[in-house]
Structure formats: C-alpha cells, structure tokens
C-alpha cells in the first residue's frame, strides 16, 4: 500500500487533524516550559504535579462531565502550584512531604472516579488521554490554556533563567524568587492540565521532560534550547501520530496514540544521547592534550 498517501490522507480526517493541532500546540509549549524544568531540576516537582492535578480532573469530570474536566483541573493545578511554591521557600528538603501529599491527592482522585459506573473506562481516559476522540471545544480549551502557560513563562523568561543559574545572586539584586517559582509552577501545572485530555495526566510528564533533556544534549547555547525543544517535541508528536495511524490503517495494529507519541519522544532522546556520547568521545580523543590540568593555585587561605 501507499504509505505516503496514507500519511497525507491521515490528517484530512477531522479527528486526526484535531489530534494533530492539540499535540502540536501542546508540544511547542511543553518544550519551552520543559527547558526551564530541566534547567531548574524540577522533574520531581513536575511528576508530583501530574499526580496532584488528577483529583481535580476527576472531580471536575464527575461534577461537570467532559466540559467540567478543565475547570476542576485548573483549580487543583493552581492550588497545588501555590502550595508547592510555599514549600519550596523553605531551605529544608521537602521531597518526602511533597511525595506524601501528591500520592494522597492521587488516591483521592482514584476514589472519586471509582464512584462512577463506568469506572475502568473513565480512569483509563483520564490517565492516558483519548487523543483521537477529542472534541472541538476541547481543542479550543487546550490552546487557550497553553497560551496562558506560554505567556506566563514568556513574561518572566530572562528572570527565570537568572534565578535558575544563581538563586543567591538573584535575590541579592532585589528579586523575589518566590514570585518566579509561583509563576513557573502554575505554568507547569497548566501544561499538565492542557495535556490531560490529549495524552492523559501520566504521559504528560514525558512531553514536559524529554524535549528539554534533548535540547540540553543538542546545544549549549541558551536561546537555542527553547526552539530545539519545541521543534523536537512537535516533530515527535507528528511522527508518533502518523505511526499510530499507519499501523492501524495499514497493518491493523491498534496503537494507543498518546503512548506511541511518548515512545517516539523517548526514542528521539536515545538517539540524541547516543549522538552526544559519540561526539564527546571523538572530541576527547582529539583534544587529549588540551585537557591537561592547569597548575594548582597556591594555597593562601585558612580553611
């Protein structure tokens, strides 16, 4: 069969083009936000947010159906983002507290959903998304939420980078890290919400973390990180979606679209990592002599 024909035909189908629009918007924004997640080392916090947003989504879903999903999720997300920013203010490690709160929230979500009649089906949709049955209204909602997240990060971008690089120096010139942490947490939370209907609350973590990690492997130039992450994520989204379609139409294998996109992301990361390691090995061999240690500084200090 004509594979290329199948690919171009794929996105003329309304449900496929809706899925593509949602995924492209989502990956572009998640890519940009994901670079900050990477530079700040907020992977654990992001993971926690995906769990904490879940009860909001579940309650919103039970209360208002598919249209109530976003409202509940946004309330839960913003609330969690604020609580997290407050916890992060304290110098003491709060990982245990965060993990406990988040798993508790997640359990609440599961219990709420389990009260529903079609329990397993609903839970699966919320956790893994339902990319191919997404409605026009949901497409619009996703785009709006992504736009807000992008705006939040865009307005504070140079300050976010300063804070990520040097927190003490940042506060020393009179900035308040708390405000920035709050803004970034809310942006991450909004991306999680936006992704919930498309790829589900569990798989969104990959969309948030992998593109930023790939960008770090590909370039050390600060302003290139953002376009690299966004373009990589969008490309993976398109490839993943097409792959799922071709497998289903061409070979009769039904691949869950969200998970397929995530695996394409991860495969891309593996490729980038392999490329980076090879390049490093090649360069190290070449510059062996330059890497000799500089003479030790003289010691003139009491320690």
């Amino acid at each position: 069969m004509d594979v290329w024909g199948a690919i171009t035909d794929a996105f003329s189908l309304p449900f496929m083009s809706r899925a593509l629009v949602v995924l492209l918007v989502l990956s572009l924004v998640a890519g940009v936000v994901g670079v900050l997640v990477n530079l700040r080392g907020l992977e654990f916090i992001s993971d926690g947010l995906t769990h904490a947003v879940f009860p909001g989504i579940a309650i919103g879903f039970v209360w208002g159906g598919r249209e109530g999903l976003f409202a509940g999720a946004i309330v839960a997300a913003v609330l969690t983002a604020v609580v997290l920013a407050v916890l992060m203010r304290r110098a003491v490690p709060v990982d245990a507290a965060i993990a406990i709160v988040f798993t508790a929230m997640f359990s609440i979500g599961v219990i709420v959903v389990s009260r529903q009649t079609n329990y397993v089906g609903q839970l699966e949709q919320l956790l893994f998304g339902r990319l191919l049955t997404i409605s026009v209204v949901e497409v619009v909602q996703t785009v709006v939420i992504c736009a807000v997240a992008l705006l939040l990060v865009g307005i504070t971008l140079k300050e976010q980078l300063f804070r990520a690089f040097d927190r003490t120096g940042f506060s020393a010139v009179g900035y308040r890290p708390f405000v920035l942490d709050l803004v970034l947490n809310v942006a991450i939370a909004l991306v999680v919400v936006a992704a919930s209907s498309a790829v589900g609350t569990l798989l969104v973590l990959a969309v948030l973390i992998v593109p930023g990690a790939v960008a770090r492997l590909v370039t050390v130039r600060l302003w290139l990180l953002f376009p690299v992450a966004a373009v990589f994520a969008a490309l993976a989204a398109w490839v993943g979606l097409t792959l799922g379609y071709v497998a289903s139409v061409g070979a009769g294998i039904n691949l869950p679209s969200g998970a397929t996109v995530v695996l394409v992301l991860v495969a891309g990361y593996a490729l980038a990592l392999a490329g980076r390691l090879l390049l490093d090995r090649f360069r190290r061999g070449k510059h062996q002599h330059d890497r000799m240690r500089a003479p030790q500084p003289r010691t003139a200090a009491v320690r």
Partner: protein
C-alpha cells in the same frame, strides 16, 4: 604600611552604616552586635574563621537574612536603594554545566534596571562590554561560563556586579583558590572601582588582599572582635582572639592556624 588610606577623604559620604546589628537564621543567632562604617571609595576586610559570620554579614547587608536588632543603612537608606549594592558570590557555588556564556552572565547584572518584559538593548550591551573590559575578560565574552577557569569565573561574577553600577560592592571570599594572574587582575579591578568611589566590603582569609586593597579590618567570630584601621587592628593578639587559638601565626600573606592544612 598601608598605602591606601591616604586616598580616602575624611568627609567621603557614608556608603554603609552598621550599628549594633544582629542577624539570625530562624531562631538561631548567627552574628551579634556588629558596628562599623564604610565610606565611599574605602574598603573593609572581613576576617574570621569559617562559620564566624562573614557570609552572614554580607547577606545581612543584602537583606537576605533576618536582622533581629540594630541598624543597617546603605547610602543612608534602609532597606538599601534599588541597584545600589552589587554582590559577588563564590563562583564554585554555581553549576558549571549551566548553558550560559560569560556575556550572558554579565548581562544578568542589567536585568534589574531593565525591568520585566524588556530585552537588553544597545546601552546594556555597552555596559556589559565595559564591565568585561574592567575585569580584563572581553576576549572571553562568548565562552561558556563553566569552561572558564575558577579565577575567570570569579572575575566574570565581579563584572556582572559592575554592570549593574553599584555604589557598594560585597565580595564573598573572592580569592579562594585563585592563581597569581587572576589575583592581580581582581586586585587591580577592585582598586580602580574604589578610585571611582565604590565602597567595598570583602570577606577573606587572605591578608595580602586585605593589605593590598583595604583601609580597615573587621574581625568576626560570632560577633565583633575588633574594627579599625588595618595596621592597628591586625595585630597577632587580635587575630589569636578571633581564631580562638594561641597557636595562630601571622606571616606576610596569611593567617596560619595549626591543624589546618589549607585547602
């Protein structure tokens, strides 16, 4: 002899006024009852053992640590006027893998005056170039910050502070682990800044630096041991009291504490 004190006029304006100031982390007192003045164009060396409160004092002046008693005024104001204080942290506290160039790090010194949403313009780039010239690192502007040597990173952070145009400069152990070339570059820059009227507060273990650039010394050990002109205060007796060790010795360059093996 100290060659610097003659350059500072008696009536130079007060850059920093600290009177009976105590600082605390949560409920734990970190530094108690510190009193000293620092005039424009003058430099004070903070000397004391590790944990004596040198960093606490610097962070207290920045307003990053809770002041539980006393006064801290920068240019006669409390809290300090925006942009008046420049802070140079220790370079080894920063992530060497962070993907920024030296130029971008120095540009961060301009962010505060730029404000939100605005991107650096021509004027900011000129300030950055001038600051890099001041520390002698213009030729390394495009290098990745983490690839610079420790000394160059330290000078880069000084350039970042300079780019913000401070009247008071706080340096936290700027000479730790620096080679001779970087020491000379750093001392030269600090002297030029002083000549332009910038006041400098520098925490250090390095007496050579203190003698080279500072008029006064503040000895700390959880509180103020002594403050005054360098030649009067930096006596063996005072230093022994500060380090709470009679075995301590002073040589030309450094405080020698028995049992400590340097780095």
């Amino acid at each position: 002899m100290n060659e610097n004190d003659s350059h500072v006029p008696e009536n130079a304006p007060l850059a920093l006024h600290v009177d009976g100031a105590s600082f605390a982390y949560a409920q734990t007192p970190a530094l108690e009852d510190v009193t000293f003045d620092l005039r424009a164009g003058e430099a004070v060396a903070l000397i004391g053992p590790n944990g004596s409160g040198k960093s606490t004092l610097l962070k207290g002046v920045l307003g990053l640590i809770h002041r539980v008693a006393g006064t801290v005024e920068v240019l006669g104001e409390s809290p300090a006027p925006a942009g008046a204080v420049g802070y140079v942290p220790q370079a080894d506290e920063l992530d060497p893998e962070f993907p920024v160039t030296l130029e971008q790090v120095v540009m961060m010194g301009r962010y505060r005056s730029l404000g939100w949403l605005r991107l650096p313009g021509k004027g900011d780039r000129a300030h950055v170039a001038a600051a890099l010239d001041a520390v002698g690192l213009r030729h390394r502007a495009r290098a990745r910050f983490g690839e610079l040597s420790g000394g160059q990173q330290q000078r880069g952070l000084l350039a970042r502070a300079i780019a913000s145009g401070p009247r008071l400069l706080l340096l936290d152990e700027p000479f730790n682990g620096l080679d001779q070339e970087n020491r000379e570059a750093l001392v030269g820059t600090v002297k030029r800044l002083k000549a332009e009227g910038v006041a400098v507060l520098v925490s250090t273990h390095d007496l050579e630096l203190a003698r080279d650039v500072c008029e006064s010394v503040l000895l700390l050990n959880g509180g103020q041991v002594a403050f005054g002109p360098l030649d009067e205060v930096l006596s063996l007796e005072n230093v022994q009291r500060t380090f709470r060790s009679v075995g301590v010795e002073l040589d030309e360059h450094t405080v020698v504490v028995p049992g400590h093996t340097g780095h």
